[in-house]
């Protein structure tokens, strides 16, 4: 789960990391009040869960409370990469002379957290990794023993941090480690951590990603999920216990298993070419009961872009004939009006296909291979466009 900038920074603040004393506004008037309180010189930052906000015009400097109000109005009316801006963070303006990157993430291959830093902050770490990899300093942290002070010295030394700031830098790095641990974070990142003209370190932008698997033990963090900022269908799918991600294509996919679901998406793209592709990722999990299938159908159909549906079920322990009967029950309940292609494979696949074929439903056809199923779904989508 991704946290907004303001959520991440406020959490950093709770762990003792110095952050600007800004506030969140949802209306231009609120932005005006906050800017006035902060002395007028402020930065207005859109709070949406996408990168590249600055380039999209979602971050602006204001010199007065009046200008802050007008800029907030402008930013709050924007849509950035498909997400409407509903909140802005109003932070006091800061003058600084250096930008540092400091972050902790999980290194999957090593099985350890890794702290990374760079004197070239202010741009994304991936960008630094591409253009100037030597400017990134890394320290692997033993998950059992934690971050040692000497490792922070290694980092401060590696990024040539002036000695004046080492003491404060150590406090911040240790606090970030504590925050990462206490939040079950996949990523805790300050970018940039600036050296202000007054000679203080300050975390002026931040990002956190929380491990979804750990949310049950962090009700306070789970509550921070911004439901407004995700497609409604994803919220409903999560409540139904279905793994669903909305995509931009036209073919709704319903599959059992995550790997097979990705593969099914890929096949629609392979045969659909540039214009046709998957409308979603959807894993209904094991079993494929009529209730689950019906819920999944409703979620897929709530996307107006969907022109056809491809159902791909591999019956292993679940038998395909049972799945086919379940599909017919769900079909009767939901009555989808778009063409549907069903491909059943594995245990009792033949019997399953026979059940589908004998039901003789005009917009419901079966296919025996994934290739055939994907081609049929693509044709059906083209016909409906």
């Amino acid at each position: 789960m991704n946290l907004h900038e303001y959520q991440s920074k406020f959490r950093f603040g709770e762990f003792g990391i110095p952050i600007p004393r800004g506030k969140v506004a949802t209306t231009p008037k609120e932005a005006y009040e906050i800017a006035k309180e902060l002395g007028g010189f402020v930065v207005i930052k859109s709070q949406v869960l996408v990168g590249g906000r600055g380039k999209a015009g979602g971050v602006k400097l204001a010199k007065s409370a009046e200008e802050a109000r007008d800029l907030a109005a402008e930013i709050l009316s924007k849509t950035i990469k498909g997400l409407p801006v509903r909140k802005v963070l109003v932070d006091p303006g800061v003058r600084f002379n250096q930008e540092i990157y400091l972050g902790i993430t999980n290194d999957r291959a090593v099985g350890k957290p890794v702290m990374m830093a760079s004197s070239e902050g202010g741009v994304e770490i991936e960008e630094i990794a591409r253009t100037k990899p030597e400017a990134i300093v890394k320290e692997y942290i033993d998950p059992c023993f934690g971050l040692h002070a000497y490792q922070v010295n290694n980092i401060a030394s590696g990024i040539n941090l002036p000695y004046d700031h080492w003491k404060q830098f150590t406090q911040i790095a240790m606090a970030l480690w504590q925050c990462y641990l206490a939040s079950d974070a996949e990523l805790a990142e300050i970018n940039p951590l600036v050296i202000t003209d007054e000679g203080q370190l300050l975390a002026i932008d931040g990002k956190m990603i929380i491990d979804d698997s750990a949310l049950p033990r962090h009700p306070d963090l789970a509550e921070m999920r911004d439901i407004e900022d995700e497609p409604e269908a994803e919220t409903r799918a999560r409540e139904a216990g279905i793994s669903y991600v909305k995509l931009d294509g036209q073919i709704g996919c319903m599959v059992n298993g995550a790997g097979l679901a990705m593969t099914t998406m890929d096949m629609t793209k392979l045969y659909g070419g540039d214009d046709i592709g998957p409308a979603n990722f959807l894993d209904i999990g094991g079993g494929a009961s009529p209730e689950k299938v019906a819920a999944a159908l409703r979620i897929i159909l709530s996307d107006p872009n969907v022109k056809s549906i491809l159902i791909n079920i591999f019956g292993g322990i679940t038998r395909c004939d049972d799945v086919a009967r379940g599909l017919l029950v769900a079909y009767e309940e939901v009555k989808p009006d778009v063409p549907m292609v069903i491909r059943l494979q594995g245990t009792n696949a033949k019997e399953g296909r026979q059940i589908i074929d004998e039901a003789n439903i005009p917009n419901l056809v079966s296919a025996s291979t994934l290739t055939e199923a994907a081609q049929k779904a693509v044709e059906a989508a083209k016909g409906a466009m």
Binding site: N106, P143, L247
Partner: protein, 286 residues
């Protein structure tokens, strides 16, 4: 022959009394797997299906039965403890099926296993299957048949799909292994490829990967340097957008790393035949 598991393997099931645990244990036994015991604290002395003794602890189960494999199918909050318990009891092979173990917990357990003599497969994996010998985990026995192809995969149903296609095409398997779709897992592609390379009965290998992380890139480097046996591969998630998690906790392209495209390229550079469609895999092995 097979890797990791053979007719001498003795399996215990931690979580044998749970709904999933008992269901799959029965299927494993029907397939011929030598299930010698179960573990469930508070139920020691009872019997599963009248034939399999249940113990309170892994230590006790191992002492009495001589089990060398523990299949862990307990809720996520109890799963890492089961890993520590298995390591301390001296279990050689720990197979964790449980999904949704927090990564921070898993990183500690991973380091603990690494410093021990135990091997961990998973978590969040379907387990392994040796055709006509036994299976540990979710894989349906009916789709596999003995032969000379080794299969290693990050996923579940996609693996069954490929194993089924191999069987239909007359290509049997030595061992089918699901290593799991989590970011931090005990056994990697490289580990399994090395075992297949050293297994005299495995002549060909199928690798099924997906977006996220760099395990497939490491596999490509290993294949290029060390493997003499032919490898065919499929990478799922070619159409997945960056930054979105596709079901598996580990299946996410972040910061431009872990794309299907770079993995396919690396594998092709290593001489691996990469299928555009999983149905092509049997042909690529012929």
């Amino acid at each position: 022959m097979s890797i990791l598991f053979d007719s001498n393997s003795k399996v215990i099931v931690q979580g044998i009394t749970g709904k999933q645990g008992s269901f799959h244990t029965k299927l494993m036994m029907e397939y011929g797997t030598n299930v010698v015991g179960g573990v469930r604290p508070g139920k020691g002395g009872e019997w599963f299906e009248g034939t399999v003794p249940i113990f309170d602890t892994v230590k006790k189960a191992r002492e009495v039965t001589g089990a060398n494999v523990n299949m862990v199918i307990v809720p996520p909050a109890a799963a890492v403890d089961a890993i520590y318990e298995s390591v301390d009891a001296g279990i050689e092979l720990i197979i964790v099926l449980t999904e949704h173990i927090p990564v921070h917990d898993m990183m500690k357990a991973y380091q603990y296993v690494k410093a021990s003599n135990s091997r961990l497969i998973g978590p969040n994996c379907p387990g392994l299957l040796v055709p006509d010998v036994g299976k540990v985990g979710f894989m349906p026995g009916s789709i596999a048949t003995p032969g000379n192809v080794g299969v290693v995969s990050k996923s579940g149903t996609l693996t069954y799909e490929v194993v089924y296609a191999l069987t239909e095409a007359g290509l049997g398997q030595t061992t089918c292994i699901g290593i799991g779709g989590d970011p931090v897992i005990g056994t990697t592609f490289v580990d399994v490829l090395e075992m297949f390379e050293n297994d005299p009965d495995t002549e060909k290998v199928v690798l099924i990967g997906e977006i996220g992380g760099r395990a497939e890139i490491d596999a490509a480097e290993y294949i290029k340097k060390h493997m003499t046996k032919p490898v065919a591969a499929f990478i799922a998630g070619q159409s997945a957008p960056p930054g979105k998690r596709m079901g598996h906790a580990g299946a996410i392209v972040s910061g431009g790393e872990g794309t299907a495209e770079e993995k396919i390229k690396a594998l092709q550079n290593a001489g691996v035949r990469v299928a555009r469609n999983p149905e092509e895999i049997p042909d690529l092995l012929k």
